[in-house]
């Protein structure tokens, strides 16, 4: 596997050459500092682009084209990544060794056309198509509000965040949808093309010079981009006393979500320690929360913790009966405190390390994982796999305790379901 980065002016091309896969996987990322008012535009833009192109002016024709291209996969997303908002266009297609000569070029044209040669009317996106993606977005937002776990999660972040970037919804907001019109979206599209930071990642058995040439012909953008800034959000306000909220909801099960803020991590803690801490606390079926709350006390089926390291928050979620909320909270608090007090077995740390290393070794089995690894290197300054393995082995108990002391419980939200 050989990685090369080519800075070609308007964008960077990252080529990862490997003959391990029968596919070629490609992602084109557009990023800029997130602005709340722009998120709805960004979401609608990514949706409308991926549904058609000048050459294939509706979803059906586009879908037929993907089948003609031997089942080429195509998708898009618009997400928040710390301080940044990232629109991605992803595609995967078979290496032409398994189809027919010339397919690499056709498949690359297919995705670049979708982005740069959209189906416009009088220079603007079509009103009927915009209406269709608006309907989809509104449906998706409303659905997520009707899902107990997702509703509880967003309520928690909004309470913790006080309108900070990590509490925004990457989907945008229903209230902003109406204000988007063909002209505003087209103007925004031009801004994205000309001022977002663009990175193109491609992995497969491909020739880097050929890829460079194809993109210089097909992905023509003539601006020079400035380098990016940090993605990591730092908290500056911490509660002295945990805020507790509850709300009743039309569901069978209650959702308990607990959010903590993590303060001022060192670069090393942010890269490594958070994984070990989370793995021990609630990262899987051998974690403390799973063993105590589920296996020992039968209080739930699902319980887990996760750390959103770009936002420096820890979130614990559990589906429970509401009558058990106080007991569940006590058990969770106790496990968190025990780690802070240093009550950690050496063997727990060892298990976390082994699993970290295994997840690193697993990266090279899948093109998507390899791609994400290089995206993390580019955006967050992650270390390469060998360095990570070396560093993880140097971690000791005190480092985890020091990390635990930086975790500050902030808000507890109980969404009360059940009869």
């Amino acid at each position: 596997m050989k990685y090369t980065k080519h800075e070609v002016g308007p964008y960077n091309i990252h080529v990862i050459k490997t003959d391990k896969f029968k596919t070629v996987t490609m992602r084109i990322n557009f990023k800029r500092k997130a602005v709340k008012e722009e998120l709805t535009h960004r979401n609608l833009l990514s949706r409308i682009l991926v549904e058609s192109s000048n050459k294939y002016p509706n979803q059906r024709l586009l879908a037929i084209a993907t089948e003609d291209l031997y089942n080429q996969k195509i998708s898009t997303s618009s997400i928040l990544s710390g301080f940044y908002s990232v629109i991605s266009f992803s595609t995967q297609f078979l290496n032409e060794k398994y189809t027919e000569e010339g397919m690499l070029e056709h498949s690359i044209s297919f995705i670049t056309d979708i982005i740069l040669d959209p189906d416009l009317e009088d220079g603007k996106f079509r009103g009927d198509k915009l209406q269709n993606v608006k309907n989809k977005l509104v449906e998706a937002i409303k659905e997520s509000e009707k899902s107990p776990s997702s509703y509880a999660y967003h309520q928690l972040l909004e309470t913790m965040g006080d309108n900070a970037v990590y509490s925004w919804r990457s989907s945008g907001n229903i209230e902003d949808v109406d204000s988007v019109n063909p002209k505003s979206l087209t103007d925004y599209y031009k801004q994205v093309i000309h001022s977002d930071i663009i990175d193109i990642f491609i992995i497969g058995d491909v020739d880097k010079n050929l890829i460079k040439r194809l993109l210089s012909e097909k992905f023509l953008i003539n601006t020079i981009k400035k380098p990016g800034d940090t993605h990591f959000y730092e908290h500056d306000k911490f509660r002295k006393r945990v805020k507790k909220l509850s709300e009743s909801y039309d569901s069978k099960q209650s959702q308990l979500v607990i959010g903590s803020k993590i303060s001022h991590l060192t670069d090393f803690e942010r890269k490594y320690i958070w994984f070990l801490y989370n793995f021990i606390l609630g990262g899987g079926t051998d974690s403390r929360l799973f063993k105590t709350v589920r296996e020992k006390h039968s209080l739930c089926y699902n319980i887990s913790s996760r750390i959103k390291i770009l936002s420096n928050v820890l979130i614990i979620t559990a589906g429970i009966d509401k009558g058990n909320s106080a007991k569940t909270q006590r058990l969770i608090r106790k496990e968190m405190l025990n780690i802070t007090k240093g009550l950690i077995e050496d063997n727990e740390i060892e298990k976390a390390k082994v699993n970290y290393i295994n997840s690193l070794n697993e990266i090279t089995d899948s093109p998507l994982s390899i791609m994400n690894h290089y995206i993390e290197k580019e955006y967050f300054g992650s270390d390469d796999i060998e360095t990570q393995i070396k560093n993880i082995n140097n971690i000791n108990k005190q480092m985890i305790v020091d990390f635990a002391k930086k975790v500050h419980p902030d808000t507890i939200f109980l969404l009360e379901g059940g009869e």
Partner: protein, 427 residues
């Protein structure tokens, strides 16, 4: 063991049946680090009326018992918890229960022999007590409630209940709270002794392994263990499933944003003799794909008219003698949508170019699959459950699909026997 090539996929299959009846399938893939091992029994949610091993009368155990048993096998007498054992060795472990089988799975890169042996050991050493059975009821009750908050699961389960009269698939895989509460440790042992005999089980291993070495580990492990004499065929109750759906229509309400519909088509496929069973299923799926899939004019028109925002979806349920195709969508106009779907399905006009393009698409999807040890493993398991053997030439299986056969088959098939379920938003 002689390798059997999987046509056009650059993969070889090694298979062997051990003396105790356990079937082993290995597909090595040297250019990855991981190994994926699945250990399955042909015991799923549909097997709750059967003649237990060494008995002669059919008994009925509480529905949901297969899934309950899956949870309980993670309990070990000597106190070594499988979750801990595998985590210590950097492996992931999990399990799942379907209508047709139960599977225990691990994925690992190192200590493969040790991990594999422990997988065999923990599944082959049950330890059920009154106390640990009781403890699990609280956990599964929460799992049931979690699913009851998923609108798709409610729609799916209600559709099965209203479409199937007798076959056990009409009851959710997980069971219902009342049936779960009736399960005893004796029920678990009865099911375990009958269905977890090696002759009813199979191992599928995909990834970076040496087949001979792996086979030796398995044989050494199995030869140490004593099993009751194998039974040739476990007697499972047969159900005389009627062709008619149970209930023509039902509307329920729930906390959803938009109405959800499922229009369910039931077919008796046991009487068709001139086309192999698996081809019948593929032809029916191809028909629905061409008629209502995301490349159909029909799906496109519904979107343009604002009846749906997202593509129609469909899924297959296999009841042995019958199959059900559920067509699922979110819509603001449920009645109108169901009416138009019914009309479209009964209009047998299809084009050969669509058919040929879909075939090409399916063939491409096999090449995608061959890059991924998890998907390869899933294909092998599905083949064993559905066909009783591994299909080694999917390429030609698909190539030989014939447009005229599809047309003739569809023209002789009745799509009249269908019903619907609608979930409406709470008012």
């Amino acid at each position: 063991m002689k390798p059997i090539p999987l046509n056009k996929l650059d993969l070889d299959l090694y298979q062997e049946k051990l003396d105790n009846g356990l079937e082993v399938y290995i597909i090595p893939k040297e250019n990855v680090n991981n190994v994926y091992i699945t250990f399955s029994t042909r015991f799923g949610s549909k097997h709750y009326e059967f003649v237990p091993i060494n008995k002669d009368k059919t008994i009925k155990v509480p529905p949901g018992v297969a899934h309950f048993l899956e949870h309980k096998l993670f309990e070990q007498k000597n106190g070594v918890e499988p979750f801990t054992f595998f985590v210590e060795r950097g492996a992931d472990v999990n399990a799942n229960t379907s209508n047709h089988k139960t599977t225990y799975l691990i994925s690992a890169q190192t200590n493969i022999e040790e991990n594999l042996e422990f997988l065999l050991d923990f599944v082959q050493e049950p330890y059920f007590t009154d106390a640990n059975v009781k403890k699990e009821k609280g956990i599964i009750e929460q799992e049931i409630k979690m699913y009851q908050d998923y609108p798709f699961m409610v729609l799916y389960e209600k559709s099965l209940e209203n479409t199937i009269a007798k076959h056990p698939i009409r009851i959710p895989i997980i069971g219902i709270i009342e049936s779960i509460n009736k399960i005893t440790k004796e029920d678990l042992y009865t099911c375990y002794d009958t269905f977890y005999h090696p002759s009813n089980m199979f191992l599928v291993i995909t990834g970076n392994v040496k087949p001979e070495l792996i086979m030796e580990v398995i044989k050494k492990n199995q030869i140490k263990k004593q099993f009751p004499e194998k039974i040739n065929q476990i007697k499972i109750k047969k159900y005389n499933e009627p062709d008619k759906v149970v209930k023509e229509k039902e509307e329920i309400s729930m906390n959803v944003a938009l109405s959800k519909i499922s229009n369910n088509y039931k077919f008796n496929i046991s009487n068709i003799k001139d086309i192999p069973r698996r081809d019948i299923i593929d032809y029916i799926l191809l028909y629905f794909e061409i008629k209502i899939g995301n490349t159909s004019v029909f799906n496109d028109t519904l979107k343009q008219e604002g009846i749906i925002n997202n593509d129609l979806e469909y899924t297959l349920v296999d009841l042995d003698t019958h199959i059900i195709i559920m067509v699922i969508a979110d819509t603001e106009q449920p009645q109108k949508l169901i009416e138009t779907i019914r009309k479209e399905i009964n209009n047998f006009d299809i084009k050969e170019e669509d058919f040929e393009r879909k075939k090409k698409n399916i063939i491409s999807s096999y090449i995608y699959m061959s890059d991924n040890i998890y998907r390869i493993n899933n294909k092998i398991m599905a083949n064993i459950i559905n066909e009783g053997k591994v299909l080694t030439d999917d390429y030609n299986e698909v190539k030989k699909f014939n447009f005229e056969t599809l047309k003739k088959f569809i023209e002789n098939t009745s799509f009249e026997n269908n019903n619907y379920v609608i979930i409406n938003p709470n008012s």
